[in-house]
Symmetry: C2
Subunit: 199 residues, 2 copies
């Protein structure tokens, strides 16, 4: 199983307008990541779970989970993906810490922080991989079967988050000497794993 976690440091945790996704704390970026993560041509990738922690106003943090294998009726365009995210944000507005609800087939929202989620995953034995220009070349890295790839948004990850990742033993992996968009990183990681016939 492949898991992606995007830290969306500005993404609104209140309702937003579908006509202005960049103005909602760059929710457009989150949508592009979802599309690149879960789709193939004419098919969903049943082996992918995409997650994003929204840290913008008013009620952060919110962890949104998209399980491709359970998803129904979502299209790959930004506006349609965003409408699903908005549903999650609206229905999860008043959640308390630790609570999680399913808002649509394959879409859940929880009140949970980036650090809390990753600490849990790490304790469950999932390999945490942080994509960073100064990491080990992806083509030289072996990944375990349960792996979670961590990405920053347009702001990158703050230093404190990088220290936290180091503390929990996250592996730093590089895609080369270019700095890619988060959505491009996801497409590339999926491709690199596909080439190895890794599920």
């Amino acid at each position: 199983m492949r898991e992606f976690l995007l830290r969306a440091s500005k993404a609104f945790t209140k309702s937003f307008k579908l006509n202005d996704l960049p103005g909602a704390g760059r929710i457009d970026l989150v949508c592009r990541c979802i599309t690149q993560a879960i789709w193939l041509s004419g098919n969903l990738r049943r082996n992918v779970v995409f997650r994003s922690v929204f840290e913008g106003p008013d009620k952060p943090p919110k962890l949104i989970t998209v399980e491709a294998s359970k998803l129904r009726g979502m299209s790959p365009d930004e506006r349609n993906v965003a409408s699903h995210l908005r549903m999650a944000i609206e229905k999860g507005y008043w959640l308390d810490y630790g609570e999680e609800i399913e808002v649509w087939h394959g879409i859940k929202v929880a009140k949970k922080s980036f650090e809390e989620f990753l600490r849990e995953r790490s304790e469950e034995g999932v390999e945490i991989v942080y994509l960073h220009k100064r990491g080990k070349d992806v083509r030289e890295v072996e990944f375990s079967k349960q792996v979670c790839f961590v990405l920053g948004d347009h702001k990158g990850l703050p230093k404190a988050a990088e220290r936290f990742l180091k503390k929990i033993g996250a592996k730093r992996v590089s895609l080369g000497n270019k700095e890619y968009l988060a959505s491009q990183c996801i497409a590339i990681i999926n491709y690199e794993l596909d080439r190895r016939n890794v599920d």
Copy 2:
């Protein structure tokens, strides 16, 4: 220089609504391809030219060109990219065969067909590469400095177009055994060329 050509078999050549890009002949798909082709994190790729032939109603074919090195004021979200495409389609509506106009910094529109454009490129000595599951593995292929990657949309390329590509000597290149979205193919090709330090 890297060039991408997307055949958008249904994309409208008349004005369309920004709130329904899928309904405009899958212009959402074209927008995602543009974003994946021309952006890096915080930067435009100065070495990329993206083109798409729109073949939907009312006035096909229209060839739209986006030159990243000349582009100004475009954001990577689908709605913003689409607003630039719409400008090109509206301003180019009445163009005659062979005519081309610049509608914005780095954005041009011409009345030209997929075949006509590729025949010209091929005669100019540009290497034409067609991405196809049953091609030679991309990692075993050397590309020339002037290369144009040809992609189909959600419908794929029709048989006649495949025959045409064969006739002009296009190389068939494969990204592996998965069928990717056109936008994913573009991200992967850019990545493969980046890894070789090819411009």
